[in-house]
Symmetry: C2
Subunit: 421 residues, 2 copies
Amino acid sequence: MALFVQKYGGSSVADAECMRRVARRIRDTQKAGNRVVVVVSAMGDTTDDLIALAKQVNPYPDEREMDMLLATGEMASSAVLTMALQAQGVKAISVTGRQAGIHVDSTHLKAKIEQIDPERIKRHLAQGYVVVVAGFQGINRDNDVATLGRGGSDTTAVALAAALKADRCQVLKDVEGVFTANPRVVPGARKMDEITYDEMLELASSGAEVLQSRAVEFAKKYGVVLEVLSSFVVKPGTLVREEVEEMESVIIRGIAADKNQAKVTLRAVPDKPGVAAGIFKALAAANLNIDMIVQNMSEDGRTDLSFTLPADDLHKAQAVLEPIMKKAKAADVHFDTGIAKVSIVGVGMKSHSGVAFKMFDILAANKINIEMISTSEIKISVVIRAADADRAVRALHDTFGLSRKPKAKAAAKKAPAKKRG
Amino acid sequence: MALFVQKYGGSSVADAECMRRVARRIRDTQKAGNRVVVVVSAMGDTTDDLIALAKQVNPYPDEREMDMLLATGEMASSAVLTMALQAQGVKAISVTGRQAGIHVDSTHLKAKIEQIDPERIKRHLAQGYVVVVAGFQGINRDNDVATLGRGGSDTTAVALAAALKADRCQVLKDVEGVFTANPRVVPGARKMDEITYDEMLELASSGAEVLQSRAVEFAKKYGVVLEVLSSFVVKPGTLVREEVEEMESVIIRGIAADKNQAKVTLRAVPDKPGVAAGIFKALAAANLNIDMIVQNMSEDGRTDLSFTLPADDLHKAQAVLEPIMKKAKAADVHFDTGIAKVSIVGVGMKSHSGVAFKMFDILAANKINIEMISTSEIKISVVIRAADADRAVRALHDTFGLSRKPKAKAAAKKAPAKKRG
């Protein structure tokens, strides 16, 4: 008897009708001979509505209280989904993050899971229940509820799958899986059958919104086989798993664009040891997530320094940078929100050269100017004008031939294939 | 430094503006030199909305899951009110029923408080916090949340006041206190300055909706001084307290009418020992709350039996009675929803005779027919036609002179006054 952890997002449980549909899906999974643990997000826009309510009474709501407020969304949806399951004749019970034994650190609004004691879930599974867990939340050492941050329910699901040694963690969404590019931008975008953890991580951190990086990291760390699939249609989705050798035959797995980035340029910064370090130390201390960094050639002992960060963090960055710039006697700071980051990702890059060249060539042929470049072993990212982003993604998708389904290699050429997750 | 427990109902915290107003009220109470524990209900119609949502997915929702769902309403409002307090510069923290140490029995939807461990609240009070407690809920032995039933937040407040040995438990409402009669029916109805626990209990069980009987019972049991007052206007409300001798100078304290009663008449029931007992045993087993009972004189070994119960329970009573009536070969059952129960309440009745006679006389003078009568030491209730109820209340209020403020007696005549709560 296999054990499945299924995670349903907010749009899958937005109203009573959605709840009934999800309940039937879970019932069918159980009837097929599986034990099922369900992780559920808050219904529809509940979380956003609660945030808006909080801001009405307090423009800077306390993080502990915000967690107390937000966690109620998932508690409520877990109870309602359980009622819907019971209406389908399924023996079901809801549990909060606390009851699920999810212990987190003491950071509010973006708590990290420290430990899971899934005894209560195991007991209910042994009693024949479908266990419906309120996602996105855990309990900290102060005995307070804390939430895991945006997309936290994915992390709840993967962490529970790891703790319960589940056979698979299914993330059910309003998309059919992970696509080679955003189908709204690229009509020929194709659903992948499989993708490695590392590729998924690179895509997630490059603007693909299908899975949270943290959930994928967790899955990789504990070898949880993840599947992203449709909550509307019953058909296989995309498996996220350990790399197996045949996956390397694919050079580019997918393309992502992130338009929520901004570029900050510090002009005429003194080019002395420690100046750049001081700037990035201050930005890190303010919890700002700096992505790409470029430093120009020095002129007259001064240099320009550019970096990207999420556009939402711009005002925070500004507050950090102003005193530093004054102290460093830098000329000025320039903020640019008109950029996009376009990334191509694939484990096959490791064994193929010339991929970066091909990417730049395609962009040049389309008269798209590259402002910044960064690369990892399996990813190449460029910063371009936001207005060029969709065109760039379509051109790359087309020229790298991502619409075609990759063929499985007939014979392994290199090291023996790793065991499948 | 006095300790106040303040309870705010759903209509007092219905939206952000209400929350801000309540927060200012609490801030002022604290600034006046008091420690404050706040108990809060769910915002506005939240509880009804959640019940409606549950019924959409399951016409017969599981009680445990219903509790899980409903308890989120108070958790959310406690967090929002805490944020509103913080916006007013008040050091505040919210706690759930669980964190407040409220332990309940294992009945869902109408759990009873078994024990309170207020250690966490005491700790936060010592740290200078206003502690905002999610009302209406506790934690049972299965580690599950359970709710206390309608009006349960009043009970939470009184129980916490008892456990914390608070100086006063204030129930803040959209009325200014307890009135001698419903001001919507009797224009001359007067807000009382004080009322005894027993009188309040009788009024509460007679249709006055200002306080839940259970909360008053709790207050009486633990000697908690209760005050019902307006959440809108800052002025003294009505004190509910132990009887002190001068209170006995008031013969009739208040008048209540309950139009949500129904009368059931069983015709031609065999007048044999055990038959009536069997009927009421069956009704009690079905958790039906029977109020007044009248048995007519027997004729030909058969009798008519009438009783009243909440009109909402009629269909339940019907299901219980039908098989019994068949078995007892009773002629038929008659249901009458066109009745009202009108009650006059006052501890002074104990030492004054002729009150019942006066009541019947007033009703007769107004051509109002009495169908049933029941009395206790401090209450006389009559069942009349619902259409006559408002007229009856006005006539009684007028003739018993309830619009006039009672004078405190100059000298005690009987036993020495009990210590004031």
